[in-house]
């Protein structure tokens, strides 16, 4: 039998299944045993089942294009990624540590600014950030929890070590797809879940709800929680509806909410107005309150910031928390951890050059062909330069961009991302992946068992974003027998 993995050859870097040695890693050995019972055509059949399940369940995301918005089915690859549970424990601790420090940082920035006074982080980086909101000055939040929900992107380099690539602290997406991937997997590969000890992740929505309740600023015994969405045309609308459904709370749009003269937030119900205590917002700061920020926004709720500052409503993630979601600030996170927690960072950063620093800029401009250059404030993988794959013209274009606005650019060495066996047209081949676990911080901290693995479906490509043709995989945190 031509088994699915028989002709699988790893690429140049670290492989999540075969490691560096070409032998299954200890976390992957049971998966490999399982896959060795399947032929390539079996795997193709299972992949088809998975795609049919996704269509039936209507798991989709919205893509913006010239032809208008299209609802696309969620791209999914059957072959999972595996991580050892012991290793994951360490990663989780590192993630919690990081978010805790970042939250202390945000609160400090809007209050005493000790870290700026101590000269650890240059003040102009903060003051020039487009996500710094002077309106938040003086606010202190329950549990110092500003970024209550964080999606941190992790990668492994060719040695197999995890690095933090970036922290998404504003309105990170993807957790619903992480959960849906698992549901699809359980339906098409049930045997694997019987044979292998895979940590569950389904409890995320309850953990999310409990975190949201814990940030209620008033002493209401039963806080009313809502999810605030920009509406059905948003690319993550599917996720907004999914999370509201799983938590059993209302999914509201801006026009459903109103702020009263008493500075409290209400939603418009069939029997009048009902008070809202906690808002999980999925709208960017700039659009959340036309009274405080963008006056043209029709998505937001006039007066929301007033209500928040009066301590009548909790908002997750809190307005202004994006100040820590900046690729320039990212470079300072290890220092931030040391400053607030007096601990050594558990998870390393990818070395990062800041174009605003003269010395770094000089190095970047001389080595553009080797580096990945990123704008400080973009998401979705847009506006990147991947040096080794870029044309001379693109490199010159970035040289100009950096010289014009050095504050807006950072550069990192091109990492050789780890690979995972992936079903491709020609058979099973290695494809690059990253990983986005989700971290919650309210009265306590929580990290998902695994995360959303995104995979670059094009051979050799490093671009994993679903809006740019990337796919996804289920992520298994595997507990070994006797461990």
């Amino acid at each position: 039998m031509r088994t699915a993995l028989k002709e699988y050859k790893v690429g140049t870097g670290y492989d999540e299944v075969l490691g560096n040695s070409g032998q299954p890693t200890s976390a992957a050995s049971e998966l490999v045993n399982h896959l060795n019972t399947l032929s390539l055509s079996d795997v193709k059949e299972l992949q088809k089942n998975a795609e049919a399940t996704i269509a039936q369940l209507g798991i989709s995301f919205t893509v913006y294009s010239d032809e208008g918005n299209i609802d696309r089915l969620w791209p999914f690859d059957l072959l999972p990624r595996v991580i050892d549970a012991e290793e994951w424990k360490q990663v989780s601790e590192g993630l919690k540590q990081r978010l805790k420090a970042l939250n202390l940082f945000i609160e400090d920035i809007y209050n005493d600014q000790k870290i700026l006074k101590a000269g650890i982080v240059p003040a102009e980086i903060i003051l020039s950030s487009k996500d710094y909101r002077p309106e938040c000055a003086g606010m202190k939040l329950m549990h110092h929890s500003w970024a209550c929900i964080c999606g941190t992107d992790l990668v492994r380099d060719d040695s197999g070590s995890f690095y933090v690539l970036e922290d998404n602290l504003r309105v990170p997406s993807g957790v619903s797809y992480m959960l849906e991937n698992r549901a699809v997997m359980k339906s098409v590969m049930p045997d694997a879940f019987r044979d292998i000890s895979i940590l569950p992740m389904n409890q995320y929505p309850y953990e999310l709800l409990s975190m949201l309740r814990s940030i209620c600023p008033t002493d209401t015994p039963h806080p009313e929680v809502v999810v605030l969405t920009p509406g059905i045309f948003n690319s993550a609308y599917y996720e907004h509806a999914f999370l509201a459904h799983e938590m059993g709370v209302e999914l509201v749009e801006g026009s459903d909410l109103v702020v009263g003269d008493d500075d409290c937030v209400y939603m418009r119900n069939i029997d009048g107005l009902q008070k809202v205590d906690v808002i999980y917002r999925r709208i960017d700061d700039a659009f959340i309150d036309p009274e405080a920020f963008n006056p043209d926004s029709v998505l937001g709720i006039p007066g929301l910031i007033r209500a928040w500052k009066a301590g009548n409503v909790g908002i997750a993630n809190a307005p202004g928390c994006g100040v820590a979601d900046d690729k320039v600030l990212y470079a300072y996170v290890p220092e931030i951890i040391r400053f607030y927690l007096n601990e050594e960072p558990i998870l390393p950063n990818v070395p990062t050059y800041l174009c605003s620093r003269e010395e770094d800029r000089k190095y970047v401009l001389e080595h553009l062909e080797e580096l990945v250059v990123k704008p400080a404030n973009e998401s979705g993988g847009y506006g990147l330069l991947i040096g080794p794959k870029a044309s001379q013209e693109e490199i010159e274009q970035f040289r100009q961009l950096i010289e014009d606005n050095p504050r807006n650019y950072v550069a990192q060495p091109t990492l050789c991302l780890s690979t995972v066996p992936t079903l491709c047209d020609e058979g099973v081949e290695p494809r690059h992946v990253d990983l986005r676990p989700f971290i919650l911080q309210g009265s306590k901290s929580y990290v998902t068992a695994g995360g959303l693995t995104r995979v670059a479906l094009v051979r050799g490509s490093l671009v994993v974003n679903s809006s740019q043709g990337g796919g996804s995989k289920d992520t298994w945190i595997v507990k070994k027998e006797g461990a």
């Binding site: 209507g58 999914l251 009263g260 069939i270 009048g272 008070k275």
Partner: protein, 320 residues
């Protein structure tokens, strides 16, 4: 409680599901008539256009009143906002945007049937395959109604679903009766109507899915007057206008701020309680059904003013 916006979408969701089911039944039964009636009775497909009040759209977009055209307009025409495929799309859209208030199966069932019809839309052009497809649609709609009954609480969300279903149902029943009566009176010569009348009326009952219940309840031969009696005044028949009106009254009674809605429902109930003398196929019947339809539409408008777009009084600290 329940957001006004969500209440509105749930209400429409139920209306669309009911509409999809009724449209599928209507088309299927009309096709069945072909097998029952002699060739001399020429089946008028345009009746379907009239039942659903699509005359203007049809005359503008189609050149001949053929089976193919009438069926396509009613079922597969995406540009016709009242077609089966459009109603399915709207039902799906309304679930998509209220998914957080409904059991997950609601989304899965509707999504599945929408995709199925969309992928097999050409089947609607072929009589034999059309019926199989419509059968599947009807069955799914029934499964959704049953599933909602079996898995939801008797909460505000459920009551708005019920409200939408009842209004759509009452409206559809009155339309079918209206055209059925018209059909019986004017389309054919009296002898033929007499000869085949029972088949026509039986098919009308079947098109709303209550033939069996009628048979149980009414022991006489099937005729127009007894069908009207059954579909308008029977207070135990789930699809009769009277039953729908009574149920709406019960629902409105337990929904908040419903004074105005109750008032209009009462007007509909009064009309049903004091019917004029009339025969199947008479203009009196037609006029009476017309007034019933206007009352149903008035209830719809009252729901909007009361729950979906209420004028919110100036917000102040006194709320709650």
């Amino acid at each position: 409680m329940l957001l006004s916006r969500v209440a509105e979408r749930l209400y429409w969701l139920a209306r669309y599901i009911e509409r999809v089911e009724n449209t599928a039944r209507l088309s299927k039964i009309h096709s069945q008539l072909m097998f029952d009636l002699p060739k001399s009775v020429k089946l008028n497909w345009y009746t379907l256009v009239e039942i659903t009040s699509n005359e203007d759209y049809f005359d503008e977009h189609y050149d001949a009143r053929t089976e193919k055209n009438c069926m396509w307009m009613l079922l597969g025409d995406r540009n016709n906002s009242a077609s089966l495929i459009s109603s399915l799309w709207w039902a799906r859209e309304n679930i998509r945007t209220t998914r957080d208030s409904l059991p997950r199966e609601a989304w899965v069932y509707i999504n599945e049937i929408y995709l199925y019809v969309k992928d097999n839309i050409d089947d609607l052009q072929v009589r034999s395959r059309r019926n199989a497809l419509l059968e599947k649609v009807i069955r799914t709609c029934q499964a959704i109604s049953g599933m909602l009954m079996g898995t939801m609480s008797d909460n505000a969300a459920f009551r708005f679903l019920m409200m939408g279903q009842l209004i759509e149902r009452a409206d559809m029943t009155s339309r079918i009766l209206d055209v059925g009566g018209y059909f019986a009176a004017q389309e054919y010569n009296p002898e033929e109507v007499e000869q085949y009348g029972s088949i026509l009326w039986a098919n009308i009952l079947k098109s709303i899915g209550i033939y069996f219940m009628y048979r149980q309840a009414v022991q006489i031969e099937i005729n127009g007057n007894s069908v009207i009696e059954f579909l308008v005044y029977d207070d135990r028949q789930f699809r009769s206008i009277k039953y729908c009106a009574n149920k709406m009254h019960e629902l409105a009674n337990i929904l908040p701020n419903s004074r105005e809605v109750l008032k209009v429902i009462k007007q509909l109930q009064d009309l049903i309680d004091q019917p004029p003398e009339m025969e199947a196929g008479s203009t009196t019947l037609h006029d009476y059904l017309d007034v019933l339809q206007l009352k149903i539409s008035a209830i719809h408008n009252a729901c909007y003013r009361t729950w979906f777009y209420p004028e919110v009084e100036a917000v102040s600290g006194s709320v709650q």
